[in-house]
């Protein structure tokens, strides 16, 4: 059974102008040990996909129209709120973009991690490694030790001393490490990281990516890495899903998708990144901008910006076809692969 399986997920968002169909049939399967990169332009629904998995989209304005999200067979969209709360602390870990706004500046770093550890320990006593009947102070002590271990593990030097610092005494990269430590404390099976390195310098980013990669190797987590940095995806992801206006238009193993992009959008996105060999003015880019989701273009939502557009593109949203093993494309031009079709 797949760790995470999203089937035909449709999400509506209500606003002044009306309801926008912001997720328009998402299909995604994540297995343990896989790092999935979710890429796409701003507003294409990356964060909402991640938030949907931990059911953190507020409804209203959100509304789940159809679809299912299952974590090892359990449908999360129909789970009760207390059930979701226990999943969030334990099986699903989340890291958000901005490390400064997700740590409370008024509390010591340690206290904030200990809180998370106690919550996780309440759900699964084995995490703290103390008996179920342990006293409050014993559990607190165990939680503190666990917090120090986790900080050391995410690469904070002298974790035992730094644990009593306040967040402002940490650098941006260290704060992001703290958030990763918090997300990992419940020993999650699935980690959702929404732009974990966007606010960081490249050298710090490289360290965080290394950390994430090693953690996946060690614990066989499934990871959803939301980013718009194609370089990051190429480096650490095993798989990638390219989103456009609420659809996954191309997905598969990173090497397949990056080396052999089939969808004109993926091609355009990859051609937008300047590379070493390019001369000035040679950058291709993508013309136009993302569509208005309140009145999306008919059929393929990318058609109005597509250089290879054809009359049949506007008829219906093209279905996903397998163009190779581990490589699916939703484009009318995609040629189904003979052996993968089975």
């Amino acid at each position: 059974m797949a760790l995470l399986e999203i089937r035909d997920l449709h999400l509506g968002m209500r606003s002044f102008e009306g309801e926008a169909h912001v997720l328009n049939g998402i299909h995604l399967t994540v297995e343990r040990g896989e790092i999935w990169g979710i890429v796409g332009e701003t507003g294409c629904g990356k964060s909402l996909t991640g938030l949907s998995i931990s059911r953190l989209v507020s409804t209203p304005p959100g509304r789940y129209i159809t679809g299912s999200i299952s974590l090892e067979g359990r449908n999360l969209l129909t789970a009760s709120e207390p059930e979701m709360q226990s999943l969030r602390g334990r099986r699903i870990g989340m890291i958000f973009q901005d490390p400064t706004t997700n740590l409370n500046p008024a509390f010591r770093v340690g206290e904030q991690i200990v809180d998370v550890a106690l919550h996780a320990g309440g759900l699964d006593p084995s995490i703290l490694g103390v008996g179920a009947k342990a006293s409050r102070s014993e559990r607190k002590k165990a939680a503190r030790n666990l917090a120090i271990d986790m900080l050391a593990k995410v690469g904070i030097p002298k974790a035992g001393e730094r644990i009593d610092d306040y967040p402002h005494q940490f650098s941006g990269g260290m704060r992001q490490r703290v958030l990763i430590a918090m997300a990992l404390i419940g020993r999650p099976d699935l980690l959702i990281a929404d732009e974990p390195t966007t606010a960081l310098d490249v050298s710090v980013q490289a360290q965080i990516l290394r950390l994430l990669y090693d953690l996946v190797q060690e614990h066989q987590l499934g990871v959803l890495l939301i980013t718009h940095n194609l370089g990051v995806v190429a480096q650490i992801c095993t798989h990638v899903a390219v989103m456009y206006a609420g659809n996954i238009i191309e997905s598969g193993s990173v090497r397949e998708v990056f080396k052999n992009p089939n969808h004109p959008y993926t091609t355009g996105l990859l051609a937008s990144v300047p590379t070493a060999k390019m001369k000035r003015g040679e950058l291709q880019g993508l013309p136009g901008s993302v569509p208005n989701l309140l009145a999306p273009p008919p059929g393929c939502r990318f058609a109005p910006r597509c250089a290879a557009v054809q009359p049949r593109c506007t008829a219906a949203i093209p279905p996903s076809v397998a163009v190779a093993a581990h490589h699916e494309v939703a484009c009318v031009l995609a040629e189904p692969h003979a052996s993968a079709a089975a």
Binding site: S203, A234, S253, V273, P274, R280, L283, G285, L286, A325
Partner: protein
């Protein structure tokens, strides 16, 4: 050389609460560099390394602690208020954050025509001519005149950055400071903006002072580069030379950390590993 920065140091007084004694923080230390007319000069450095501080000094929004900044041969510190205002029409800046750098209560027309109003005496345009020029500028940056009376929040990030560029070009500057003009944008939109900047440079003969922490962008845009680390220039030279044969450890570190969008060149995967 249109811009010469000579041994510039900038100290900030930092106070740690009302009782503690104020200490000094050196944001820039003995920075020297020069930018030639018509070239694209890149400044690369990590967050907090002093890049924005240097632009504020060039724009005379802050005073240097020591050293000199010469623009077209004149020391900026020696200028009278009147000459400084005139100079400001020759140096313009495009800011990093296209969301915060446009006044939310002004229409696009008012935003772009404001610099022409301020520099009325040098440009001598009346209201009608200003509006014509705003339309002209909007077309130059690829937006079209129909957007004249909309407010900034009605635009996407890339469109806002174009408005920011149009505003900077309104007074026909020679020297454009671009402080991370694309770091808040999608790669697709970044490509559009970089291409636009390239076109404009060819068309208008502009000099660019381009700040970024994206080495890929710097390599694509700049003729020469300076690397800044904690307020000090650690290396500068021709772009290709620095990328091909970096001399400083810092340059090597940055280059190795730069994530390239090529799965085969990932430090995490042995090159021989098979797909899937």
């Amino acid at each position: 050389m249109i811009l010469r920065i000579e041994n510039v140091t900038k100290d900030f007084k930092v106070s740690h609460g009302p009782l503690a004694r104020a200490t000094h923080f050196t944001a820039l230390k003995d920075v020297s560099l020069s930018v030639g007319k018509g070239e694209s000069f890149g400044l690369v450095g990590e967050s907090g390394s002093g890049k924005t501080t240097l632009t504020r000094l060039i724009l005379q929004l802050d005073r240097v602690s020591s050293g000199r900044i010469l623009f077209d041969g004149t020391d900026l510190a020696s200028l009278s208020a009147r000459d400084l205002r005139h100079l400001r029409s020759r140096i313009q800046i495009v800011f990093q954050d296209p969301y915060a750098s446009l006044n939310p209560r002004m229409t696009v027309h008012d935003i772009i025509s404001e610099p022409m109003e301020i520099h009325q005496d040098t440009l001598g345009l009346n209201a009608r001519q200003r509006t014509d020029r705003v339309v002209e500028l909007l077309e130059l940056v690829g937006l079209g005149g129909q957007h004249l009376f909309r407010f900034p929040h009605e635009f996407s990030g890339g469109q806002r950055q174009r408005i920011g560029i149009a505003r900077a070009l309104a007074v026909r500057p020679e020297f454009l400071i671009l402080d991370e003009p694309t770091s808040a944008l999608d790669v697709s939109v970044q490509a559009q903006v970089l291409n636009l900047l390239h076109e404009l440079q060819a068309k208008l003969g502009l000099t660019y002072f381009f700040i970024s922490h994206d080495l890929g962008v710097i390599r694509y845009v700049c003729d020469r580069v300076a690397l800044i680390y904690r307020g000090e220039i650690v290396e500068q030279g021709e772009t290709e030379r620095i990328f091909e044969a970096p001399e400083s450890d810092y340059a090597r570190l940055l280059l190795s950390a730069m994530p390239e969008p090529d799965p085969d060149r990932s430090p995490f995967r042995p090159p021989a590993a098979s797909a899937g």
